[in-house]
Symmetry: C2
DNA sequence: TAGATTGTTAATCGATTAACAATC
DNA sequence: TAGATTGTTAATCGATTAACAATC
């Protein structure tokens, strides 16, 4: 694999989509696919797909295309799925609870070690086999267990403070589900946010536009 | 407001962030802000902010900057927050349940009308005051209530089918939380997806990169 | 071999940044 | 008025698309 200089965010954000699409093709029993067929199925140009993959090296075969299994594996490697990353959940309220129960962490290469909360009713229990510890023990836990990522589902008022604690404790990344833009001074820590509000407001804009179009065609 | 020709997706995706940041500034009691100060607080250039706002018209005052309240209002208008959009939730499992309880729909200008599920244990109950109806009654409900958006938290196996039903019933948008890329033939229906997996895999890539950097500095 | 399709460079397009006149 | 800062056009930069030789 070509460990290249600099891959743009646009390309990186498409990698999980490629992975997802290839998984579906694999399940459908497809063995090979061309860049143009993959592009058509994803709404991208063949050129873009070849250009994207070219960032990491040649995974295809001229005159043949790409082997679905092989390409999926390669992209999984690039994404680090087989690295055995670990994660903990901060905040075992409704959303944290739902993610612990529903989200397939292991399918994405993550091992969920524990959850943390301050509610005495939750601390000491387990959710889908995952122990809920007291937030006070966060630093001790991270010191004794290898934690790569902290998932933030705490109330917005506690978000920044919890983020700081995670960074100080030495995590490599924060997966932020709070509607707050976590500020992280340490550039070696990655912050990835899922902002529900931003997503819904984008949708609100799109349907509003269409409402206007219908009114003034 | 300048109802302009075509605003790029990049700009649209920044609007909710502006709105969020302006809300925070407003809460902090700030009355005016310049494009350079706003840019600094958001990690954008002043030029980009002025260019973005220029897409919709002149909201500022030369020599002064922007009024925080006024600009927030204007962006809220653009996003359609005051249009009284309505929405229903499809799938009242863990995630649907958590969103109904936690997510501030009204802060984003949406009124949550009902939830739908097939589980007889859930149907007939209410979650945070929101009635859970049987999925069979979906079309009847939409025919008799104005539903703008359907929020999909159904199992992935039911995602496309439920999406189709929503489109046929006449919703304007789909807010998709399943890990499936909803295919929608009707271009007048907007689909906005929140793909947790894509987000986590992006984070996985970022921390993997940094792991490699530490190994081979 | 002929046909297909990639890898890779070049051209185009669009988004971001810079510049500056307008003006508060 | 002088200073500040926008609105708006022009320049730059980066991402996408096109093209085509390489080759399976």
């Amino acid at each position: 694999m070509k460990r290249n200089t600099k891959v743009s965010t646009a390309v990186i954000r498409r990698l999980p989509r490629y992975y997802r699409q290839l998984s579906e093709l694999q399940e459908a029993g497809m063995e090979r696919i061309s860049s143009s067929a993959l592009g058509k199925s994803m709404g991208l140009t063949a050129s873009q797909i070849r250009q994207d993959l070219f960032c990491f090296g040649g995974f295809g075969q001229q005159g043949y295309g790409y082997k679905v299994d092989g390409l999926k594996e390669e992209i999984g490697e690039i994404l680090g799925i087989s690295r055995g990353h670990t994660l903990i959940v901060l905040g075992a309220g409704n959303l944290g609870h739902a993610l612990i129960r529903n989200f397939r962490f292991s399918s994405n290469g993550f091992h969920l070690l524990a959850a943390f909360d301050v509610d005495p009713l939750r601390v000491g229990t387990a959710i889908a086999g995952v122990p809920v510890c007291h937030a006070d023990t966060l630093e001790d836990f991270i010191a004794t267990h290898p934690v790569d990522v902290g998932l933030l589902t705490v109330p917005i008022s506690a978000a920044q403070q919890m983020g700081d604690r995670l960074v100080n404790a030495g995590v490599k990344g924060i997966w932020n589900f709070t509607n707050y833009e976590i500020v992280c001074a340490d550039p070696s820590v990655a912050v990835e946010s899922v902002h529900f509000s931003d997503s819904l407001l984008t949708l609100s804009y799109l349907i509003s536009q269409r409402e206007d179009l219908e009114e003034h065609p």
